[in-house]
Every structure is written in structure tokens, then in C-alpha cells.
């Protein structure tokens, strides 16, 4: 089974699906949706098989495949997955069918073509799988840029509000970041031994001159920091998240933004260890500011989708400190955070989408007391909020705890400030819940017939898998942490840092 070319098949499968769905005529919208759903479920099935085939204590990179592409540059179609990429691929495989099912009726009201929308979603899945599965820096760069295209059209054509503005802003931000990265990619090729193969580069980058390495690091880092996004590169996200259809917004922050943090872990840390250590304090400062700043902004939002976008920026701050604290716990926590945030914020966006679809507005002030009308939907909304504020029992608690405890052992002050973020998280979640679902019923809601319709069967199938995963991983995260841990340790080995010993042991006293 290990001979099976998992990664290339997984990457291409959704692309073929997109082509098939795209050719279904507009009139047969239901068929297109069904094909898209089944197709994404097949991808999920294959991903599960791949997960089972992964050897936890085996090689760092598994399922390696390599095909010739541009021989003169030594750019190859090389795919390989370490534990970090594997969990991200799994997250993608889980989220897409859920989002497809959640977006079932999103296009029906508009004049747009439903098959086109679902084909765009599948082609987006293709780019997402590709970017995480690539083990060739040039291939990674290509996917990094190509993934903008389907999302651009999803926001620009199927979004709401200032969708054109948001789409262009999204595109330009990413493009600017991409150009920085391109410069670094070229530079890396020049000084790194004329190869794009990641494994070879890890060997050869050690010889790069210190200053050059720092410049190259910066090029990658800016691209990833915009993508993630980290403060102060974040202003595109609330616009995009606010304008994108809810399901696509879930994918945007749940999966696409993780390319940024994934890229930092894979490419910045492993290829430029000295530069990573040198830049780490600055990155930590940005991340901590991001946590507090974005949380406060989330408190002040009056648009649900923008609010959730700001909570994501705060969460990316946590991931940021987790990456740059350089301890096993913080690093593993950061990767686990990427997974859990995808599930929790994905759920939150999807539920917000259900509210918006009913009310026809995303403004907090257009709701009020909605729990009376749609108790189950309000309950799911509350659960998603709890996961977002990292309550124990939900998966995000484990990742937030790991990030903070791991950061504390090397950077006490940052960890303490970041911990204050958990108070603000409670504030923005509970205030959002209070203003939308609690209190006296907003009379305007009773005039909207859709607001009296609680979760449909389809919607229950959408939220149930996410709720179940959040709970299971909240109580038993070990299957995931065991996969992530070796990859993080290998990365930290590249960086050249080791976990600090407990003070009691370090002082030579006998501990417990």
C-alpha cells in the first residue's frame, strides 16, 4: 500500500472533479452539487487511508514521489508529507465536504451558476492539497500563487457586500507577498546549490552567508505573514471574510490562511535556522500584539463575519508565538492549533452563515433574542463560540494550552500577555452570543419567516461531524499530537534549539 502514489492522486483528484462539475449544465444544479459532494467524500476516504498508512515513528517525509518538470532548473513535481502536512491534508479533506454541504443553497438565490461555484470549490481544494503536499520549493510557490485564483472568483463573483473591493484587496495583498517570496525563491536557488528540492535545500542552506539568509528569510516571512495574517498585515482578512460566502470564508481562514503558518514552519525555520532565531523576538512581539489587538477589535465589531475574522487574527497570534517559542510543546501546540482552529472557526463561520442566510443580514444589531426562535441553531452557535474561546473539553483548549505552556518555559512575559488573551476571547464570544441570541427578542426577527426555521436535516449533517471532532479531540488529542510531534521535533532540530529542562532539575536539585 505504501507504493500507492497517495499525494499526487489526492492533489489531482479534485482538479478532475472540478472539470467534471464545471461541465454540468446550469440547469442540472442539483446533479452538480451531488457530484461535488461525492467527489469530496472520495477525497476524504482516500485521505483516511493515507492517514492509516502513515508510519508515526517512521521517516520524517513519507509518501515521497518525484517527477521531472523543468530539468534545467531542477524544479520537479515532488510530493512528500511530514506529520505537519499530513494533519493539514486531513483537515482539508474533512472541511471540504462539510463546506460543500453547507453551501448547498447559497447560490440558488443569485443569478450565478451553481455548477461553477462548486467547480471553483473543488479546484480550490486541488490547490490547497497541492500547496501542502509539495516538497519542491518552486512547486510550492506555484501552488501558493495559483490558489488565489479560485478564491478570487469565489469572493468576487459569489460574495456579498463590497465583494469586488474585498476580492481585489485580497488578491493584491497576496500578490505583493508572493512577489517578496518569489524574490527569495530565486535567491534561494542561486545561493542554495541550484535546486528546489526541499530535502537537498535543508542540507545546502547551512552554507549560505548569514546576511543573505536573513534577507531570504524575510522574503518568505513577509509572504507568509500576509497570508496568515499577522498583525499588521491583517487588514485584508476582515474584508475578505466579511464579503466571502460563509462556507468559503470557513475555508479561507480554516485552511488557506494556514498556508502562511505552515510555510513559516516548513520553509522559514528549516531553511534559515539562524535567521529564524534572529528574527524570532520580532515575530513574537508581532504575534502577541496581534492577539490583544485583534481580540479588542473583535469585541468592537458589529458584523458577525468580520467579527469572526478578527477572532481568527487573534488565534493566528497564538500560532505565531507557538512557532517562534521554539519548544516542542509550543510547536506541537501551534500545529495542533492550526487543525483545531480550522474545525472551530470553520464551524463558527458556517453557523454564522446559517444565521445570515435566514436573516439576510450579518449585522449583530439585526439580531437579538434569536435563541427563542431557533434554539438548536443558537445552541450550536454557542458551542462553536466555546470552542473558539478554547474551553476545556473542546479541541482548541489542548492546542492553546500547549502553545502557552511551551511558550512560558522560554518566554515568560510573552506567554503571560498572551494568556490575558483568553479573557478577551471570553469577552468577544460571550458578548456576541448575548447580543445575537439572548435578551429580549428583536421584533424585526419575527417578521422574517426564515428566522423561525430551526436546523434542517442537511444543516445537522453539516455541523455534527465538526462538533463530534471538536469534542473527541478535546478529550483525546493523542492520535493527532503523536503525528505532529516527531515532525515538530525534526523542525526544531533544524532550528537547533532544545527544550529547557525544568528549573529544579537544571539547578541540580532532585525533582519529583
Amino acid at each position: 500500500m505504501s507504493e500507492f502514489p497517495f499525494l499526487s492522486v489526492l492533489t489531482l483528484l479534485p482538479l478532475v472533479g472540478a472539470a467534471v462539475v464545471g461541465f454540468i449544465p446550469r440547469a442540472k444544479a442539483e446533479l452538480a452539487k451531488m457530484v461535488a459532494l461525492v467527489w469530496s467524500l472520495i477525497v476524504l476516504g482516500l485521505s483516511v487511508v493515507m492517514w492509516l498508512a502513515f508510519t508515526i515513528d517512521g521517516d520524517r517525509f513519507q509518501f515521497r514521489e518525484s517527477y521531472a518538470w523543468i530539468p534545467s532548473w531542477d524544479a520537479r513535481f515532488t510530493f512528500a508529507a511530514d506529520g505537519i502536512a499530513l494533519v493539514m491534508l486531513m483537515l482539508i479533506a474533512v472541511l471540504f465536504p462539510v463546506v460543500i454541504l453547507a453551501s448547498w443553497n447559497d447560490v440558488d438565490q443569485s443569478r450565478r451558476s451553481a455548477p461553477a461555484y462548486f467547480a471553483l470549490l473543488l479546484s480550490f481544494e486541488f490547490t490547497m492539497i497541492g500547496v501542502f503536499a509539495a516538497a519542491d520549493v518552486f512547486l510550492f510557490y506555484v501552488f501558493f500563487e495559483v490558489m488565489l485564483i479560485p478564491m478570487y472568483f469565489i469572493i468576487g463573483s459569489f460574495g456579498s457586500g463590497q465583494k469586488q473591493y474585498a476580492a481585489v484587496k485580497f488578491f493584491l495583498y497576496s500578490l505583493v507577498g508572493g512577489l517578496f517570496m518569489l524574490a527569495s525563491v530565486i535567491g534561494l536557488w542561486v545561493v542554495g546549490g541550484h535546486t528546489f528540492d526541499f530535502t537537498n535545500l535543508v542540507e545546502s542552506t547551512a552554507a549560505i552567508d548569514q546576511n543573505t539568509a536573513r534577507w531570504l528569510f524575510l522574503g518568505f516571512f513577509v509572504a507568509f505573514a500576509i497570508k496568515a495574517p499577522f498583525f499588521p498585515f491583517h487588514t485584508w482578512l476582515p474584508d475578505s471574510g466579511g464579503a466571502a460566502p460563509a462556507g468559503a470564508a470557513a475555508l479561507l481562514v480554516g485552511v488557506m490562511d494556514k498556508v502562511g503558518t505552515f510555510g513559516i514552519l516548513r520553509y522559514c525555520l528549516s531553511l534559515f535556522p539562524e535567521a529564524s532565531r534572529w528574527f524570532a523576538p520580532a515575530a513574537m512581539v508581532l504575534a502577541v500584539i496581534g492577539i490583544i489587538y485583534a481580540s479588542l477589535l473583535a469585541v468592537g465589531q458589529n458584523d458577525l463575519k468580520r467579527l469572526v475574522s478578527y477572532t481568527s487574527i487573534a488565534h493566528f497570534g497564538f500560532i505565531g508565538i507557538g512557532i517562534f517559542a521554539f519548544t516542542t510543546q509550543a510547536g506541537t501546540g501551534a500545529v495542533l492549533y492550526m487543525v483545531n482552529h480550522g474545525l472551530a472557526t470553520g464551524l463558527l463561520f458556517i453557523v454564522v452563515g446559517m444565521f445570515v442566510a435566514r436573516r439576510g443580514s450579518a449585522l449583530v444589531s439585526d439580531f437579538g433574542g434569536a435563541g427563542k426562535l431557533v434554539p438548536v441553531l443558537a445552541g450550536v452557535f454557542f458551542f462553536a463560540g466555546l470552542a473558539s474561546l478554547a474551553l476545556p473539553g473542546t479541541a482548541p483548549f489542548v492546542s492553546e494550552f500547549l502553545v502557552l505552556i511551551g511558550t512560558f518555559s522560554t518566554h515568560k512575559a510573552y506567554a503571560v500577555v498572551a494568556t490575558l488573551g483568553i479573557i478577551l476571547a471570553a469577552a468577544y464570544v460571550l458578548w456576541m452570543i448575548q447580543r445575537t441570541t439572548q435578551g429580549t427578542l428583536n421584533p424585526a426577527l419575527t417578521e422574517v419567516p426564515a428566522m423561525s426555521k430551526d436546523l434542517t436535516l442537511r444543516e445537522k449533517f453539516v455541523v455534527a461531524p465538526l462538533i463530534a471532532l471538536l469534542l473527541v479531540l478535546g478529550f483525546y488529542p493523542k492520535p493527532v499530537t503523536d503525528v505532529i510531534n516527531p515532525a515538530v521535533q525534526a523542525t526544531l532540530q533544524d532550528v537547533g534549539t532544545t527544550d529547557p529542562a525544568p528549573s529544579v532539575v537544571a539547578d541540580g536539585k532532585v525533582g519529583g
Partner: protein, 643 residues
């Protein structure tokens, strides 16, 4: 050097202790998932699940008692929760003498209050959901006291916070209830952040969060480290237990249904802070400055609670402030350390009985008086609600400390212990605070009792014949009243010995206080009688039903000693302004800079506007220039210009 802490692995029957947590949790899940289908019988499932945990708790307790005193504990690792690098956190439980008494309190009093709630919530359409949350609370609270490490404790800690939030905001359509729930959760989170950082510090210093590792390692730590660790844990404890400076949420929590106030905000959850400090006794005993801080918090809070409690007219809020004050006594006890750890736990257990009794009694009064909570609108109810009156009387006599009721046996020793502090000024300050508190307690509780049950009726016009509550509600009252009377004696004779494996042997009677024990006993009885007598003579003829003008102190007490105003002025308003300013800044400032920058690069704002309106041509042009750059660069490389 302290004795090594070592827990015995769970064997035999004790390896099933996980059922204690699992049964109420499963019940909560069933009630939530089945939805309306469970409306008819859901409440009985809720009662049964807690009763089942109680019966199991008794079995486990008996088993534990059968073990040798040295190995009287049962540790059970269910699965590896978080294992990353040097961090190893069990999903593990520990059943030992301390968690054992908490299990019995939580499930025992919990069963009675669940039973009472069947009657109290009978006409509420959300009764099934109420029992689901109630079960969830019991499960989380049991996890809190049964965890074998600080992360498990934190897990349960946040779980009870969630249940508390859900139940305070149970009538969520009332804005005041929704706000009170949010306030409770947020103030608790402030404490939780402290607790969390304390746990991080343990890992950094000791490499573990398991109780045995931490307790054995604590004495080897530097004094400053222990002090900081202890203050962080104390912050968590203050949040959960409504102690100064995080007390303001607890009285507002009375927005929840009365059984919630009885179980969560009187008998069990709010005592979690006391549990945390008692459980962490090797940390707190390792630093005298730390103990002094705990004692000071306790003494200050017990006085704050008494003073405000004396000025309130809402029956539930008086009881809530009285809870704040009584937990202050418990903090005083755990802060004093040594033998007073056990005293605090005994007072906690006794308080669990008599305060639950009085809260349920208050609920019974409200039930008969159309949900009236103003004691100025009661009066003369002793004739109409005989069972409620008598059971409430036992609670009242117990809390003010009249022998032989339970409060006397549990509170008076704490006062005596405060007078026994080694430093003379501390002995006087804390001893007198506890003594004055006893007098004030007698005053405000007597005021509450007399205005409710005696004197002339001052009812609102809609009430003709107040009725006694149904047996479903009075039977739990009677049982709790029995506990209020008898439990104190039982516990003061046996619980201290029982807890020895947790708190260590009490040092021989070395301490001699500034006053002899007999003098303290006489003094505390004297202030109690004075306080109660004063209140009785002032209020036996009733009181005005409208607010009366008052002096500076009473006005301050009515306004919670301005603590709410302080929070509003210092945290809330600046927070709101800061948020508004940031929203403005983010839209105009950072985004403006970015847009401006883009405009500058792109050659003027006109082009930017064009980009923003989304001309496909424009971005295609950008793409093209990017692509050209790629190609150009690689051609350059190919030609060897750069290599």
C-alpha cells in the same frame, strides 16, 4: 523536609471511580441530544444520575476507609491526555480523603437539590434543559475534585464555570440574567488566567503538573517562586470563590433559578477555591508570606460580605453576600494552615448543608409569594409555611453559630485559630476581624429571618394566602435541616482525623494564642447573642417597605461598597473606549496606510480606486508583471548572469 507524597494505584472497586464523573455526564448528554422527546421524564433521569453517583460515592468512601491510613488513596490514569516532549498530563483521577468528602458533599447535597428542583421547576418549559445543565455541573465539579493533576482540575474548573454561566443565564430572555451570566464568566476568567499561569510555572519549574510531583517538588523551590506560584493559584481561587477583589459576580449570579444558587453558588462550586488551596497545601504551607496574603484576603472578604449583607433587602442577595463572607472564613482557615486546613474543610461541609438549606428555604418562600424576593415585603410567614419556617430556623441558628448546631462547631474553632497566630498583631487583627464578622453575621441573618417569618405581614396586594411548598420541595428541606443541626458535631469529631493523610499530622498544641480558648468561646457567643438580639429588637415590628434615607456607611454598603462602580470606571469604560478607538484606528489608520502605500507604489490614488472597483484588467496587469519578473529572472539565471 516534608514527607514524600505518594498515591496508591486504584484497585478493586476503587478502579471504577470514573463512573462518578461519567454517569451525570452521560445523563446530561442524553437530555441534550434527545431534546423534547425527553421532556416528560428527563428531570427524573437527572435526579437518578446524581443519586447513583452518591450511592457509588458512599461505596467508594467505605472502601477507602478500609485501606491503611498510609496508603489511603486511589489513583487512576484513564488515558494519556497530553503527552508532548517533557510534558506528560494524565487524564487521571485521584480518590483520597479530601476528594472523598467533596464527592459526598457534591452528590449528597446535589441529589437533594436536584429532587427539590423537580418541584421548583415544574412549570418551567425548559425543565429538561435545566436538568441537563445541572447534571453537567455535577459532572464537571466531580472532575474538578477528582483530578490527579492541575490540568484536570483546570478542566473541571472551566467546566463548572460553563455550567454556572448556562444556569445563571438560564432565563436568557431576561437581559439582566444574560448580563449576569457573562459577568460571572468573565470575572472567573480573570482568575482562571492566574490559575493557568500558575500551572505553566509548575511545569517550567518542576517539569510536571501531577499532584505528587508538584507537592514533592514544592519544598525544593526558591521562596520567591513559591510565593508567585501561590499568588497565581490564589487569584484563581478568588475568582471562583467570589473573594476580594473578584467578588462582584457572585451576588449577580442570583439571577439564576434558586436551586442553582443553592447548589452552585452556595454549597459547592464557590467552595472550589477553598478546595484548590487545601489541595495545594504543600505549596501554601511552604511560604509564610503567602499564607499571610491568603489570611488577609479571607479576613477582608468576610467583613465585606457581612457589611454589604446587612444593607441588602433581596433575600437571595443577602444569602449570596453571606456566602461571600462564609467563604472568607474558609479562606481564613486554609490561610492559617496547619490544623486549620481541616477546620476550613469542616466549615465548608457544614456551610454546604446550612446554606443550601436556607437557599432552598428562600426558594420555597418565593414559590409561595409569587417570586417576591424583597424581605421588606414578607413578614409573618411562620404561620403559613411551617416546614419552611422551622427548617430555615435551623439554618439561621447554624450559620450564626449557636451550639449545638453545626456552625458553632465549625466557625468558632476558626476564630480561635486566628487568635493563635504567632505574630501578636496578626493574631489581634485577624482574630478580631473574625470575631466582629461573627457579630455582624448574627445581625444580618437575624434581620433576614425576622423580617421574613415574624412580625406583621407586609405583603403586596396580590397575595392572599401564602402556601407551603409541595413535599418534593419540603422533604429535601427537612433532610438538609437535619444536616444543619447534626452534621457539625459529627464532622468536628471525625473529619479532622480523616483528613490527616492529606494535610499531615497536626503539630502538638504548641501555639498559645493571645487569648485563651475559653475567653474566645465566651466572646464569640457574646457577640453572636448581641448581634442577633439587636436585629431582633430592631425588626420584630417589621420595617418600612420603601427605601429609607441612610448615612454614608449604609449607602456605601447598599452600593456594594462601590466595588462595581470601581470596576466600571477602571476597567469597563476605558475598555470600551479603547475598543472603539482601535476599531477606528484599524479602519482608518493601518488600512489607510496600506491603501495609501499601495496607491503610492501603483502611481497615485486614481489607479488605486480603479483597482478597488475591481477591473479585471488591472489585476491581470499585476499578475502579468509578476510573471514577467519570474521569467526574466530565470532567463538571467540561465544565461549565467547571476550564478
Amino acid at each position: 523536609m516534608e514527607q514524600t507524597v505518594e498515591f496508591a494505584p486504584a484497585t478493586g472497586v476503587l478502579s471504577s471511580i470514573w463512573l462518578l464523573v461519567a454517569i451525570p455526564l452521560a445523563s446530561a448528554a442524553v437530555l441534550l441530544l434527545l431534546g423534547r422527546r425527553a421532556d416528560k421524564w428527563g428531570h427524573w433521569l437527572g435526579v437518578l444520575s446524581v443519586a447513583a453517583s452518591f450511592v457509588l460515592g458512599l461505596v467508594f468512601f467505605a472502601n477507602l476507609a478500609g485501606l491503611d491510613a498510609e496508603r489511603r488513596s486511589a489513583e487512576l490514569n484513564l488515558w494519556d491526555f497530553i503527552v508532548v516532549g517533557g510534558l506528560h498530563v494524565d487524564f487521571g483521577l485521584l480518590f483520597d480523603p479530601l476528594s472523598g468528602v467533596f464527592v459526598l458533599l457534591i452528590t449528597g447535597v446535589g441529589s437533594l437539590i436536584h429532587l427539590y428542583a423537580v418541584g421548583y421547576m415544574e412549570h418551567d418549559p425548559g425543565r429538561r434543559k435545566f436538568f441537563a445543565y445541572f447534571n453537567l455541573f455535577v459532572s464537571a465539579m466531580l472532575l474538578l475534585v477528582l483530578g490527579n493533576n492541575y490540568v484536570m482540575l483546570y478542566f473541571g474548573w472551566e467546566g463548572v464555570g460553563l455550567a454556572s454561566y448556562l444556569l445563571i443565564s438560564f432565563w436568557y430572555t431576561r437581559p439582566s440574567a444574560a448580563t449576569a451570566g457573562k459577568k460571572a464568566f468573565l470575572m472567573n476568567r480573570v482568575g482562571d488566567a492566574g490559575l493557568a499561569i500558575g500551572i505553566f510555572l509548575m511545569f517550567t519549574e518542576l517539569g510536571s503538573t501531577q499532584y505528587d510531583d508538584v507537592f514533592n517538588g514544592a519544598p525544593t523551590l526558591a521562596a520567591g517562586t513559591v510565593l508567585i506560584m501561590g499568588i497565581l493559584l490564589l487569584l484563581g481561587a478568588c475568582g471562583k470563590s467570589g473573594q476580594f477583589p473578584l467578588q462582584a459576580w457572585l451576588p449577580d449570579a442570583m439571577e439564576g433559578p434558586t436551586p442553582v444558587s443553592a447548589l452552585i453558588h452556595a454549597a459547592t462550586m464557590v467552595t472550589a477555591g477553598v478546595y484548590l488551596i487545601a489541595r495545594s497545601n504543600p505549596i501554601f504551607s511552604a511560604n509564610t508570606t503567602l499564607q499571610l496574603i491568603v489570611v488577609s484576603v479571607g479576613a477582608l472578604t468576610l467583613l465585606i460580605g457581612c457589611v454589604i449583607g446587612s444593607a441588602k433587602d433581596d433575600i437571595k442577595r443577602i444569602l449570596a453576600w453571606s456566602t461571600v463572607s462564609q467563604i472568607g472564613y474558609m479562606f481564613l482557615g486554609v490561610g492559617l494552615g496547619g490544623g486549620a486546613y481541616a477546620l476550613a474543610i469542616i466549615h465548608l461541609l457544614a456551610h454546604g448543608f446550612f446554606k443550601a438549606n436556607m437557599f432552598l428555604g428562600a426558594g420555597s418562600v418565593m414559590h409561595g409569594m409569587h417570586d417576591q424576593v424583597d424581605i421588606r415585603r414578607f413578614g409573618g410567614l411562620s404561620k403559613h409555611m411551617k416546614i419552611t419556617w422551622i427548617t430555615f430556623a435551623t439554618g439561621w441558628l447554624a450559620i450564626i453559630g449557636i451550639p449545638p448546631l453545626s456552625g458553632y462547631f465549625s466557625k468558632e474553632p476558626i476564630i480561635a485559630a486566628a487568635f493563635e497566630r504567632e505574630v501578636a498583631w496578626e493574631a489581634w487583627v485577624f482574630g478580631l476581624a473574625a470575631l466582629i464578622g461573627a457579630g455582624l453575621t448574627a445581625f444580618y441573618m437575624t434581620r433576614l429571618f425576622v423580617l421574613t417569618f415574624h412580625g406583621p405581614a407586609r405583603w403586596t396586594d396580590d397575595i392572599k394566602h401564602p402556601h407551603e411548598s409541595p413535599p418534593l420541595m419540603t422533604i429535601p428541606l427537612i433532610l438538609l435541616a437535619a444536616g444543619s443541626i447534626g452534621a457539625g458535631y459529627l464532622m468536628s469529631t471525625s473529619v479532622a482525623d480523616w483528613l490527616t493523610p492529606v494535610f499531615g499530622e497536626e503539630q502538638a498544641e504548641a501555639a498559645h494564642g493571645v487569648l485563651s480558648h475559653t475567653v474566645i468561646t465566651i466572646l464569640s457567643l457574646l457577640v453572636t447573642v448581641l448581634g442577633a438580639g439587636l436585629a431582633w429588637s430592631l425588626f420584630r415590628k417589621g420595617t418600612a417597605t420603601e427605601p429609607q434615607p441612610a448615612g454614608v456607611l449604609v449607602t456605601a454598603a447598599r452600593r456594594n461598597l462601590y466595588t462595581d462602580s470601581f470596576n466600571e470606571a477602571v476597567f469597563e469604560r476605558p475598555g470600551i473606549y479603547l475598543t472603539r478607538a482601535l476599531v477606528y484606528l484599524d479602519n482608518k489608520g493601518i488600512d489607510g496606510v496600506v491603501n495609501g502605500l499601495a496607491a503610492g507604489i501603483g502611481g497615485g490614488s486614481a489607479r488605486l480606486r480603479r483597482l478597488q472597483t475591481g477591473f479585471v484588467r488591472s489585476y491581470a496587469l499585476s499578475m502579468l508583471s509578476g510573471a514577467l519578473l519570474v521569467v526574466g529572472a530565470f532567463i538571467a539565471i540561465q544565461l549565467g548572469w547571476l550564478a
